[in-house]
């Protein structure tokens, strides 16, 4: 097939196999090599919902997708161009996802009667014609692997474990990559298991050699993907979950306060907890509570104690925290609530992605209880978003929702390392100095504790242990001046208004809404929030290259909205809003801006395809539409 330089300079590759086939490791190493080769990329692992389903079943299929290119890569790709399938189940599950004409590399050794039956496949897919539209390369990978590692005398099952390295070798050849960094990594990783190490290295080289051999190079194409234009600097690969954890640690550093992260495991939020559990040296402590309610309450307790309380969950767990969040708001304590959104409603689709907890974040509490809500746009952005959420919480003394999702949590890409010196410190309102002790004038103490900054309405952060400031707080309505319990009607009205004003005041501190691509007015703008960023970016970029005058606007701040947003959006004839829910941000824009948008709602548990967004842009583009009519 020879060398292929794809037209759009990018290729989407998907590895798929049984949970035990080592597909994730294979994918991660290929991504690593892609990084070193200077290409841009984006990866997404697609785990089965089951922990470790029986071998060979369709629901046990694990996959890893990577989009790589010599241009900016903003999503893990719509339709894979290459599928490496380790067994019939993997082929069955993934065939519907890949592009017609794609290259499929199969491990023929796994195409056995036993495996067909496990995957409920009536007839060998290679014989039914269903692969006719694809370029299929059949390789007896298991046999080849066994052959390659035979000299090492491993058990058959151990030996076969190396077949992911065999495939990696072949793929490295396909992309013209050096094996050295992978070999180095493998040596480190398996240093304590010399036999496995030997098998893996032998397989890696064998796969590479196999692909290189003349007979096959005719069959296996070589992809030529150059370096992507990226700013100079240090890069690493990062998932959203890890970036978020690091961002929280960074927020603690910037505030010079420890982070107390209180959580209860839940998919897909747990990885943030896992990462933070290993960041003790950065002034982070984690607490695994008995449930989400306790996690939220413990975080609030920690904030009351002067540390930065953070709690994290996904939809169903956030629901449980609702009552406690209301208390933090009423008591005016800082708190960051991270919601890694997943498919719903109820238990829903825990391993699938969705951005449908926006209603819950903005409106989902009893009584009038407004809160700031911000959202992350992608893996690397989680770092900045975590800092920003903490900054708002501390400045305004309020709980803040930070929305991310299952896609962002697990997706990864190259990330330009930020310079910590670029971030402003996070300052809290300093506690009043009361000259006294337990006998100091109580009203003076109380007034000081509830004295609010005139621009942010944040109160001083006073914590037990501070001398002379002993006071009591709670969830009953408070006198606006002293914080004492108050049943007074006018006071309640004033406090309700204060709480609203306080959240509105956040808008005085955030940047004006910017335009990522395109002009600040025109026929069409596509607005997004959260993890749709990448898909919208590519879609808008594509249509702009085709001559459409389309702008991209992406919202980080959802409550309150940036002050200029209404004006900005009104300057476009049409505003299109793609979101992975039934129209929640559209409600928000109607409510807060009185603005109607064209909704593109997708609730399938899958991220948007670029083509879906391109289609809706073209369909609604005024000129074209007229032309079509």
């Amino acid at each position: 097939m020879g060398k292929i330089t794809p037209e759009n300079q990018s290729v989407v590759v998907r590895f798929a196999g049984d949970s035990g086939d080592g597909v994730q490791l294979l994918g991660a190493q290929f991504a690593e090599s892609t990084a070193l080769a200077g290409a841009d990329f984006s990866t997404f692992p697609d785990f089965p919902a089951e922990i470790r389903a029986p071998v060979g079943t369709t629901f046990g299929v694990s996959a890893f997708q990577i989009n790589l290119g010599a241009r900016r890569i903003s999503t893990a790709g719509d339709e894979p161009d290459v599928l490496v399938a380790f067994n019939p189940a993997a082929l069955k599950v993934n065939l519907p996802l890949i592009r017609k004409g794609a290259l499929i590399i199969l491990n023929t050794d796994a195409f056995t009667a036993r495996n067909f039956s496990k995957a409920h496949i009536a007839a060998d897919q290679r014989e039914t014609g269903e692969l006719d539209d694809y370029q299929v390369v059949e390789i007896d990978m298991s046999t080849q692997t066994l052959e390659a590692v035979k000299p090492l005398g491993l058990s058959k099952s151990d030996a076969e474990q190396s077949k992911n390295f065999w495939a990696l070798g072949a793929v490295l050849w396909m992309f013209g990559r050096s094996r050295t960094p992978i070999e180095d990594w493998t040596k480190k990783k398996f240093a304590k298991k010399p036999e496995i190490l030997g098998g893996n290295l032998a397989a890696l080289n064998a796969g590479h050699a196999f692909a290189e051999t003349a007979e096959l190079s005719a069959e296996i194409p070589q992809f030529v993907i150059g370096e992507a234009p990226m700013n100079a600097g240090e890069y690493r690969t990062i998932t959203g979950a890890e970036a978020l954890a690091l961002g929280l640690a960074a927020a603690g550093e910037l505030a010079n306060r420890d982070i107390m992260f209180c959580s209860y495991p839940i998919t897909p939020a747990s990885p943030v907890l896992h990462h933070l559990a290993r960041m003790g040296d950065l002034g982070v402590a984690t607490f695994q509570a008995e449930d989400e309610i306790a996690a939220c309450c413990a975080a609030i307790g920690a904030s009351f104690g002067g540390k930065i309380g953070v709690t994290s969950s996904s939809g169903p767990g956030i629901a449980l925290k609702t009552e406690a969040i209301g208390l933090a708001m009423s008591a005016e304590l800082p708190l960051v609530i991270v919601n890694s959104q997943r498919g719903g409603p109820s238990t829903g689709l825990p391993t699938k992605t969705e951005q449908s907890d926006l209603y819950q974040a903005v409106y989902g509490r009893n009584a009038d209880a407004p809160l700031p809500v911000i959202a992350t746009a992608g893996p690397g952005d989680c770092f900045d978003a975590a800092i920003e959420a903490t900054r708002i919480a501390v400045r305004h003394m309020t709980p803040v929702f930070l929305l991310t999702d299952g896609y962002i949590a697990n997706a990864a890409g190259p990330w330009a390392l930020p310079d910590m010196a670029d971030f402003e410190p996070i300052l809290s309102n300093t506690p009043p100095v009361i000259n006294g002790d337990a006998t100091s004038e109580p009203t003076a103490v109380k007034r000081a504790i509830w004295s609010r900054d005139p621009s942010s309405f944040g109160r001083p952060w006073t914590a037990p242990g501070m001398a002379g400031l002993a006071h009591r707080i709670g969830g009953l309505e408070k006198d606006i001046a002293t914080g004492d319990i108050s049943y007074d009607a006018d006071n309640h009205q004033a406090m309700s208004e204060l709480r609203e004003k306080k959240i509105e005041a956040v808008a005085d501190f955030i940047p004006d809404q910017d335009v990522i691509q395109g002009e600040t007015k025109g026929p069409v703008a596509v607005v997004g929030w959260g993890s749709t960023h990448g898909a919208i970016w590519r879609a808008v970029n594509d249509v702009r290259e085709q001559g459409y005058d389309v702008a991209q606007i992406h919202l980080r701040y959802l409550s309150p909205l940036p002050k200029n947003l209404g004006r900005l959006l009104s300057s476009y004839d049409k505003v299109i809003l793609p979101e992975m829910n039934m129209g929640q941000c559209a409600t928000l824009l109607r409510d807060k801006l009185g603005l109607e948008v064209i909704q593109l709602n997708k609730v399938s548990g899958q991220p948007f395809k670029i083509s879906e967004i391109v289609d809706v842009i073209k369909k609604n583009y005024p000129g074209k539409k007229q032309a079509a009519e």
Partner: protein
Amino acid sequence: MNAPLTAKDFATDQEVRWCPGCGDYAILKCMQKTMADIGADPDNTVFVSGIGCSSRFPYYMNTYGFHTIHGRAPAFATGLKLANPALDVWVVTGDGDGLSIGGNHLLHVIRRNVNLQILLFNNEIYGLTKGQYSPTSRLGTRTPTSPSGSIDAPLSAGAFALGAGAKFIARGIDTDAKKLAPVLKAAQEFNGAAFIEIFQNCIVYNKDVFESFVGKKTAKETQVHVEHGQPLLFADGTKGLKLNPQTLALEIVEVGEGGAPESDILVHDETNAILAQMLLTLPKETYPMPLGVIYRAPTQSFDDAFWATHATQGKRTGKVADALRKGSVWNKV
């Protein structure tokens, strides 16, 4: 150096709003006095409560205080304690707050052995919501939600705590400050979760429900004050508790002349969980009520273990800038 604080210094400027005659007043007074006696530092003392009549307690203590939400005080207190282990934290809860909606948090704060004190004001009723039966209400209690009498088997707060793995369990009576104060002190000194059940009279909705044993006149016959290393005697030493090794039950025996020798009487061992179980589950109809420190078995507290196993014992030793660079980093030029 200031003059030592008095009980009055621990009172706030807020008017106390319990019903006249409520047992909570006596507990408050005893606590304020205990604070003064132990030389507590109001700046480092925090009362954390849930919701209920009892949970209004923090408003009346001139220390730091947090009146949180129903049933969750132990969770707030745990977070607070981890944030600042130097604080002396008291959790105040009721039989509804702590054992109904808050049962799970009470369970886990006890199991983890967080170093704080838990005061459960047991009045066997939901006071604040106007008198519905609670998890400690006796069978047959008639309330607006149990017009034909409650049918839920009551929980024994102490047995629950023991099942949860408590390492300190004590009992006291609201109006008996002489006996309650030392228990509060012992709880405060204990490094771990100290659980104290205080029998508290809700004069409005469950008046005198503890009359069978709190009455001062009959107290000698109806109470047994346990003390480590001392025989389980009561009624001025004329009666005692003796183990029947066949039934594994405690039996009441007369002691002294004509009765059993004192050596027959079980000696209280506050470290013995089985004995604690026996004492905590004595049927209250036929036995005296065991009061005082019933169980105390010190072990490492959660707070200590938490920071001991923390990567850097709570010190910030790393830089985020370095953490970002862990793993594989490449340079784009």
